[in-house]
Symmetry: C2
Subunit: 690 residues, 2 copies
């Protein structure tokens, strides 16, 4: 079979994904928005979310513009006259001199922004429709929420695969296509950090004054921060996560393209740049898209299904898609007459993702011992809950690390470092559906908030709560894929960097490498410190605003008819806080590898990348799992264990949950992007440091 | 000058240190013990501490015995017939076949145990005498407490230098002497972990039920856990810390001895094993001992001195000793006609230690912004305090990391990896006095506890509190030296391992190295999880016992005359809990490098060591500083800020302090030893994995 056909098929699959996204969007929008109260509250959320995205994108446009100019001048036009850049410029010469890397960068940033925008636009419409559909029953609500999530899933994979494949065909050089990945990383980092600060400042602020101080329940319309909290779910958990996984998805493919030349020798195939090795990752992604679309048809259930039945429906979709994608991948490997080892690499990638997801579920679900142990500690107060959660989080890194290490070992043994990148591609091949099951959670969460604020009947809230709880479980799997693929992708990009720059002697006993490892290992800590600090500061402003409103608006706390909080003001405070605070961590992520490469040399930069991957992976997993476990320990107590709600034990668990918020939704997930972004920066600017 | 003379001088200096220790012990013991009530309480503490040490040493004797047999069989008698072990056995052959490594190991374990025992025996006598001396004034109390600390400081450096020098002269092979370091590491690990669990289980248990639940003050004699808490200060902060620093002290010298052969080429000196390079680290340590003894004479002040005057007295001692040690080191380098670069390496080591110490003080003292910011967060509850403390702790790794990286860069540039080991030796050369200023803190702390329990006049407690607060500040410097020297020593040992095993190709892009880095990076997280979990479990047992006593002993809570708690029972619970829980983390630390070396090969083991150093350094610094900052944020509020004691803000700060306890006194410091222990294991068993 001619491998070139596969590029066309990949493009076709990408377009199919976009078509499916449009279909899902239609499926959401045909549902009625609901009552006037639902609509008015829903529109407030919608406006807040869109206002944030508009202002965020404005800032990012300036940042991206500046970086694009720097790339064009230093890389595309080689203004410093760097000999290695000249040497690598063969592809650019073939195309005629032009700012190709910079254009790819702009395109990547734009594509990521558009994918986030589309996903969020539907999410802020799906929330109202999910709440309204929940009046009828669980299944209709699931359908609307899942369709909303699927729009995001299909948009991300469609735009991602289309972008990488078209750029590869147009430019024919992985170094140029890497610009696309760098653009996606830039947006992902700011969207994750900015969105993460926004959502947690609002959440922590709302919880601390509302639940803890004033004793009013979550999502109560009297709390001025409730709307901001709901907006936060959309800008953080939908737009932020979409940008994050868009970046993972394209990053894996780009790393595989960059390493195909090196990988050829490792698997005993023909000369460098065997077109089959180039086509394979894109074709696997294409097959995964088709499998994901088919998988969404499995996600359906009876009119009033139980929780376990719902979970079964979602799992059927994910596993069905996985099985189909594997079958497709096997077909491609056989048709291309490639060694079967490459198929096993793809299998390994998928298995590693599943293992991490299952481990995440074990450590964070209240079905299992660790979270129940944390809940049991609540009897002796908040300090015991926090110590227990930290212990669980620290220990939860072991299995994911072993899985990733085994994956690296297998992939490398079978297909060299190209195999590591291919494993990441395999792991994310069914992202269309895994992202859908992940992104429907915040929609259901928002629907619950709307049900509360629009004072809908209690069974509506129960149904949305059931969907939300289910979302937490499927989100665990999603997090496994996000973290696992980040490590594999970042490692593969590091290898690509070493190859592109030609730094070949990277001895572990070399002081430059050790210094790089130390500096790189430190960055995730610094980055987390900044994002935690940002959430703390932004939450404090929110707390003071909520207190002010309760103090100054008569009748608000008591819930007097017709008295409403100034929600817009709270939204504005979150927006400004998040945008102000996202700049420093983002700027550090982009400039650190350049500074270290320029000052300490390319060897130190390689060490830095590896150091950041090692500590970043542990810290991200620790934070995500500690946060998830605290959240669910609180929920377990709310189910009536250890005394249930309104006890000291519950208050202690709320403290743990609040601490976990920035851990699991701001600092933890941002680290994933940090690792890949720094590797992308190194790959693009690396030749300058020789 | 004949370098061989310096070995004799080193032995003389070591004996001088032991003489000084005896003198300081006498100076403590001539003071009166105090009133009957002081004596009876003091003897309870003394009995509890000795009982713990006896039981701990019994368990360790078995463990050490088993390991010694393994070393003798596999290394000394090479039962597996490993060719590399045979090849390396030149020194052993010269001495006649014998279990030399195993004997050195036993000697190291024994020496460490004895140093800890002596230090603690004096500490549990010094506490009563300090409390009694505090009736007269601040200066007499300082003298007694500082003399107690000095016994520990001088014993550790005396025994350490004597052991290494004599073994070197007797065995003449660094691989054999490494056994001594491994023995010291083994004891240090268990003493730190066991003592750390003990002290924090008692502390957390006493605080949670006493201060938080029952509202009775710290060290109140009604609380059944008070005696156990005081015992904990001795077994954790005195015996544990002494064993820890004993191990750092000998580890640095052994690494320098092992790398002297390699280092020779790096500094452009004659052939391998230049005797001057071997004598230099031992001579620098000897000069440091003399300087430390002289420095102790600077530590004195007027009869009723102010806090700042006291701090000045301690600093005068430390800096005076540092200046003298540097002058001596310069003299040795000049006399030996070695390049002056080696002197600058020693200077660099000292400066790095000071920078880390100063940074630690900045992040953990309430004189500065970070801790005050944490205190300010207490207004919005415990969650805000914890988030702020975590953010401060995470960010606090930056400066220490930069200092260590700069130190490695300078030392390596000037003298290769031998320089890295020499910098560690320089950093710890004045350990005699820095350890004294560190170890006097727990004595003063205990004296305060005694003052409270023996109902001494309030000014006594004020004076011991002043000494204790001062001790917290000087302890910050001590921690800087402990962490900084651990990283340098562990790195140098890793280099020695690579040299001894002869694994020379350690490419960063090699999958085996990457796998090793990942596994090594994970171990400090696993280790911390286990130790945090251990403190949580042991504290829970203590809490239940305290509650039981308050429930079942009538009149105890109310403080009825003649009603006393069953303190012995509480001491027993802490002892059993700590001993049971220390085994798993300790066993993991010893077996992990052997397992990885045997299963994944010597390259993966090298990666593992480096990975553990990178994440271990960050995690240890993060935990130590977050814990210290929470502690002092609480103290800052207790001074009257943000409402002072008995407010919600204070309660929130107590939560932070309680969480910080296992961070800063169990998990954090244990990681330092983990890194060095694993490097020692690799150095000794490394040849088996080829």
């Amino acid at each position: 079979m001619d491998a070139n056909v596969l590029f066309i098929l990949a493009i076709a699959a990408a377009l199919l994904a976009l078509l499916a996204a449009a279909g899902f969007a239609r499926a959401v929008l045909v549902h009625p928005e609901g009552s006037a109260l639902v609509r008015s509250t829903g529109h407030l959320i919608q406006q807040g979310a869109m206002a944030f995205l508009r202002r965020e994108y404005t800032i990012l446009a300036v940042f991206v513009g500046v970086v694009a100019v720097v790339i064009a001048l230093l890389i595309d036009y080689n203004l410093l006259g760097n000999p290695r850049v000249t040497e690598l410029a063969s592809a650019a010469e073939r195309l005629g001199r032009g700012p190709w890397t910079a254009l790819a960068y702009l395109l990547g940033a734009f594509a990521s922004g558009v994918a986030g925008l589309i996903g969020m636009s539907i999410a802020v419409r799906g929330n109202m429709r999910t709440a309204t559909a929940a009046i009828e029953g669980l299944d209709p609500a699931l359908r609307v929420a899942f369709a909303s999530g699927s729009v995001m899933g299909m948009t991300v994979v469609g735009v991602g695969l289309l972008g990488v494949t078209v750029l590869w065909l147009a430019l024919g050089d992985a170094s140029l296509v890497a610009g696309f990945g760098f653009g996606a990383s830039t947006i992902a980092l700011f969207a994750r950090v900015g969105g993460g600060i926004y959502t947690k400042a609002a959440d922590v602020g709302a919880d601390l004054v509302g639940k803890v101080e004033s004793g009013i329940p979550e999502d109560d319309p009297r709390n001025p921060a409730t709307i901001a909290d709901n907006v936060g779910d959309n800008v953080g958990d939908v737009a932020g996560m979409g940008a994050d996984l868009f970046e993972s998805y394209v990053g894996g493919m780009i790393a595989a393209l960059a390493l195909a030349a090196v990988g050829a020798a490792a698997v005993g195939l023909g000369g460098a740049g065997d077109v089959r090795l180039l086509a394979l990752p894109l074709a696997v992604s294409g097959v995964g898209i088709v499998a994901s679309i088919v998988g969404t048809f499995f996600v359906r259930t009876g009119p009033e299904a139980s929780m376990s039945r719902l979970l079964w429906a979602l799992r059927a979709g994910i596993f069905g898609a996985g099985a189909l994608a594997l079958a497709g991948a096997l077909g491609i490997v056989v048709l291309l007459e490639l060694p079967l080892a490459l198929f096993w690499v793809i299998v390994a990638g998928m298995v590693v993702g599943q293992v991490i997801g299952t481990a995440t579920e074990y450590f964070t679900s209240y079905e299992y011992r660790p979270t129940r142990w944390i809940a049991a500690q609540a009897a002796t107060g908040p300090a015991s809950v926090v110590i227990a959660g930290l212990a669980v989080g620290l220990g939860s890194v072991v299995v994911p690390l072993l899985a990733v290490v085994a994956g690296i070992g297998i992939a490398n043994e079978l297909a060299g470092l190209y195999g590591v990148a291919l494993a990441a591609v395999g792991m994310l091949s069914t992202l269309g559906i895994t992202l859908a099951t992940d992104a429907y959670g915040p929609v259901a969460d928002n629907a619950g908030g709307l049900a509360e604020q629009a004072r809908m009947p209690p069974e509506v809230r129960h149904r949305t709560d059931a969907l939300d709880a289910l979302g937490n479980t499927t989100a665990a799997t999603g997090k496994g894929f996000a973290i696992g693929s980040a490590v594999l992708t970042a490692l593969a990009l590091m290898a690509a960097y070493a190859h592109v720059t030609g730094v070949s002697d990277l001895q572990l006993t070399d002081a430059r490498i050790l210094i790089g490892l130390g500096l790189g290992g430190m960055l995730p800590f610094l980055f987390s410190a900044l994002t935690m600090h940002a959430v703390g500061s932004a939450a404090r402003e929110m707390i003071e605003e909520v207190r002010r409103q309760f103090r100054e608006i008569p009748g608000l706390r008591e819930g007097v008819e017709g008295v409403a909080p100034d929600a817009a003001r709270a939204v504005d405070i979150s927006t400004q806080g998040a945008l102000r605070q996202m700049v420093a961590p983002g700027a550090i992520a982009v400039t650190a590898p350049i500074l270290i490469g320029a000052l300490a040399g390319p060897e130190a930069l390689a060490g830095m990348l590896v150091g950041s991957i090692v500590t970043g992976f542990m810290l991200a997993t620790f934070m995500a799992n500690a946060g998830g476990a605290w959240d669910n320990a609180k929920k377990y107590i709310e189910l009536g264990h250890f005394g249930g709600k309104r006890t000291d034990a519950h208050a202690a668990a709320v403290v743990g949950d609040t601490i976990g918020d920035p851990f699991k939704d701001t600092s933890g997930p941002s680290i994933n992007i940090l690792l890949k972004l720094m590797a992308m920066v190194a790959l693009i600017f690396g030749p300058l440091f020789l």
